[in-house]
Amino acid sequence: MIGRLPIAKMLAVVVVMTAAISAVMVSINWDGQEASTAAPKIDELLNVMIVLSSFVFSLVVVMLFYALWKFKAKPGDESDGEPIHGNTKLEIAWTLIPTIIVLFGAGYSWSVLNDIEEPVKDSLTVDVFSQQYAWSFGYPGKGNVYSQGELHVPLDRQVHFKMHAQDVIHSFWVPEWRIKKDNVPGITTTAIVTPDKLGTYELICTELCGFGHASMRAKVVVETPADFRKWVGGLKEKVPAPLAESITQDTETNPAPLNAGGA
């Protein structure tokens, strides 16, 4: 049955189509500017997925259009097709090959995940406080100084964001860092980021939190360690009592032995 199909030609078309789609899609920078050590790793995973997806998409499209071109009934032809009920080898192939592909994807993703969440010793901890509809930040290593609506972090140093929501769930996202984490009332959630590009970015709330959700933003500044020290030194306010309380009240999500594993 398969022998009657021009398999080599069809595969050639699939390969050419995959190459063409991949070439266009991989050359586009979908996720925007990369400004953390995690960003290029996630974007590379995305690119690998784009190539694999282009292959699957091309395969489906080529199979569909070849069938439509070759096996379309002539006008007035009321006869039936050939009584082919299946092909065990083919069925095993399209069960096993996709299994291998997705397990490869899972393994690759897992290793990227471990990589981007690997904690280092010399990290900076920043407390993130979210409430309808504002962000504020505390620096526990710097005398608990407090900044409203503006987050500063030093370049090339791993930052552990410890998040505390005061009312409903919010979510912390800086697209250029590729990192997102929900802020959940009652628990401490953690995100690990190592910013590696100077600049000013935007912190966006991505969890629906009420009518002010769309405008719940904060300014993010990545600056040299010297500039950062200067900026922190200039902060006079301390983290207010109710927010400081939420740090002690909130519980960690992960049981102690697994806590070290990252977010």
Partner: protein, 636 residues
């Protein structure tokens, strides 16, 4: 008048609704007075004097309407009314507005009701896209915008996609398996009549102080537990839609397991039957979870329980676990019946047996089993126990395998067939394969934790769900409606208008939902009334696509209404299909079959010389070929 009050029907139903609501209201006021509280409570999460009548009013309507008459008489020991089939079948259009126990009437009631809600939900989508066409706020304020997308999603999911499949299967499935009706016809009618009540609660929430529910269709606590009164309408609407769904699933299970015609073994069931068997297995086990979790939210709101209040010892993330333990299987509840439809349409119009029939059925069961183990992939950034992300990622990616089997087997079915594309149903089925593949691909990407961390809660998610739910489910719904329209109405629809509808829908789907992937990856979050100016042009294009998509649905509506009234009469089997529903007249006789058909072979034996699927009453019984005869008899 007294006669009208005694007879079950609309007058007694309206009376029941009023008395039910009055009873609930009086109960609240009396208990509050007795407790020394003011009669009314107007805290935004409370309003017991409104919430309790929202439960008792609809129940009063169902009582008055006659949904419980037979059972109540039996339960209290009164003589039951002998079944004279007076509630069975439709003799005039008025019978479609009655409590009717005929699965064919109920099927049409379902499809018409759900399409009514499809157009309401669509109208809400048009308002959403009008607001989003430009950055800034033009048409609605941010709070109303939140209500718009919440009601849009709730209506489309709970009142369109899930029940329209139940409606189509209600009509087709008993005919397909050679049964005279569903196993429990009165329960079937009750299931249907709970549905419009859920719809009224969702739409009615716009009248509540504080506006319609606005915490998204996901209703995450604690946003939902602190939201205005409209949220309680959602909590209760889900109960009615959910109860309807569960009862129908039980009905399908019993019908499929016990009422197949002699000779219809499990391996001779059409894949639509397999698909509804799988779906029903998901519904009976998963839907109670959303019913439960919405009650927990309602109790947190009205009774100050602390399920999700961290200050009272509750756990916020547990809402999401319970919610998604239903709502991920729900994705397959919204997809598997569509898979069944596509199998029927493609096999019939390609004149070919389904490629790998048994693997197709097993893939459905594989999806059912796996779908219970993937829910937390909606929560990769939710702050849950972080180790859980990896196993959930692996199961999520693995579920692509049975789905891929289905895609490749449909393609395999086309090969060496005689593909006819004159039917709009087939066009939708073929287009479904491509659009659904795209939704599947983005689903695999989302299953990968590192990618999901970046695109979670962005427009990429909006793109993905619309590609699977619109490009997937809704395409299969259109395929199913066009395919069985001649059977259900006894008329043919207009293929020219069908083609306009098809090409417009295909074009609109791609223009609307493809660019959403891009803006999502580039930084546009979902569920926002306003966005950064850099996304303005893409959003304008998306809105234009959405308006085309909306407008072209009116062509479908016109085609359906006019063809139902004036279309040329349909023969019993216009598509020359094999399954049993096509071997009776269009529309089928009131009790489906004069004599139960006898099944002698598989449902897709196109091109097999001398093969038969079923022998109908009055047909000359030829001796079936020996190859077919060997497996007869294991079902009955």
């Amino acid at each position: 008048m007294t006669a009208a009050i005694k007879q079950p029907g609309w007058i007694r139903g309206a009376l029941g609704a009023i008395l039910g609501a009055a009873f609930g209201f009086a109960l609240v006021v009396a208990i509050r007075k007795a407790s020394g509280l003011p009669a009314y409570q107007t805290e935004q999460t409370g309003y017991p004097q409104v919430v309790v009548p929202l439960i008792t009013g609809p129940l009063g309507f169902l009582l008055g309407f006659g949904a419980f008459d037979y059972w109540l008489r039996w339960a209290v020991g009164m003589p039951t009314i002998p079944e004279d089939h007076s509630q069975h079948g439709a003799h005039s259009w008025k019978d479609y507005f009655r409590f009717n126990t005929d699965h064919k009437v109920i099927g049409i009631q379902y499809v018409c009701t759900t399409f009514f809600f499809f157009f309401i939900g669509g109208l809400l989508a048009m308002l959403i896209r009008a607001e989003l066409a430009q950055p800034g706020t033009q048409i609605v304020d941010a709070a109303t915008f939140n209500s718009l997308f919440s009601t849009h999603a709730a209506i489309m999911i709970f009142l369109f996609v899930i029940p329209v499949f139940a409606g189509l299967a209600n009509y087709v499935l008993p005919l397909m398996i050679g049964a005279p009706d569903m196993a429990f016809p009165r329960l079937n009618a009750l299931s249907f009549w709970m549905l419009p009540l859920a719809g009224l609660l969702f739409i009615g929430s716009f009248l509540a102080p504080g506006g319609a529910f606005d915490a998204g269709w996901t209703g995450y606590a604690p946003l939902s537990t602190g939201a205005p009164l409209g949220q309680s309408f959602f909590n209760l609407g889900v109960q009615f839609a959910g109860a309807s769904s569960i009862a129908t699933a039980l009905n399908f299970l019993v019908t499929i397991i016990t009422m197949r015609a002699p000779g219809m073994t499990f391996w001779r069931m059409p894949l639509l039957v397999w698909a509804n068997l799988s779906t029903s297995l998901l519904v009976v086990a998963a839907t109670p979870f959303i019913a439960g979790v919405q009650f927990m939210v309602l109790f947190d709101r009205a009774l100050h329980t602390n399920f999700f209040q961290f200050a009272g010892g509750g756990d916020v993330v547990s809402y999401q676990h319970i919610f998604w333990f239903y709502s991920h299987p729900a994705v397959y509840i919204m997809m598997l019946p569509g898979f069944g439809i596509i199998s029927e349409v493609i096999s019939t119009h390609a004149r070919k047996p389904i490629f790998g029939y048994r693997l197709m059925a097993l893939a459905l069961i594989g999806i059912v089993v796996l779908s219970y183990s993937v829910w937390a992939h909606h929560m990769f950034v939710a702050g849950m126990f972080s180790w859980l992300r990896v196993p959930m990622m692996i199961t999520t990616l693995l579920i692509a395998v049975p789905t891929g089997i289905k895609i490749f087997s449909w393609l395999g079915t086309l090969y060496f067939g005689k593909i006819h594309t004159y039917s709009t149903a087939m066009l939708f089925a073929l287009a479904f394969i491509v659009t659904f593949t795209i939704g599947g691909i983005s689903g695999v990407m989302l299953g990968m934790v590192p990618i999901d961390i970046h695109v979670s809660d962005t427009y990429f998610i909006v793109a993905h769900i619309h590609f699977v739910l619109f490009g997937g489910s809704v395409f299969t719904i259109f395929a199913g409606v066009y395919h069985w329209f001649p059977k259900m109405t006894g008329r043919m629809y207009d293929e020219k208008l069908g083609r306009v509808h098809f090409w417009g829908t295909l074009f609109g789907t791609w223009v609307t939902f493809i660019p959403m992937h891009w803006i999502g990856m580039d930084g546009m979050p979902r569920r926002v009334a306003d966005y950064a100016a850099q996304f303005g042009n893409w959003n304008l294009l998306i809105s234009c696509g959405a308006f085309i998509l909306g407008a072209v649905q009116l062509v479908f509506l016109y085609n359906m209404i006019v063809s139902w009234r004036f279309g040329p009469k349909a023969s019993g089997n216009p598509w020359r299909a094999n399954s049993i529903e096509w071997q009776v007249s269009s529309p089928p006789p009131i009790f489906n079959f004069d004599e139960i058909p006898r099944v002698v072979g598989g449902p897709y034996e196109f091109g097999v010389p001398g093969a038969r699927h079923a022998i109908m009453a009055g047909e000359s019984v030829e001796t079936p070929a020996p190859a077919q005869a060997t497996t007869v008899g294991s079902a009955q």
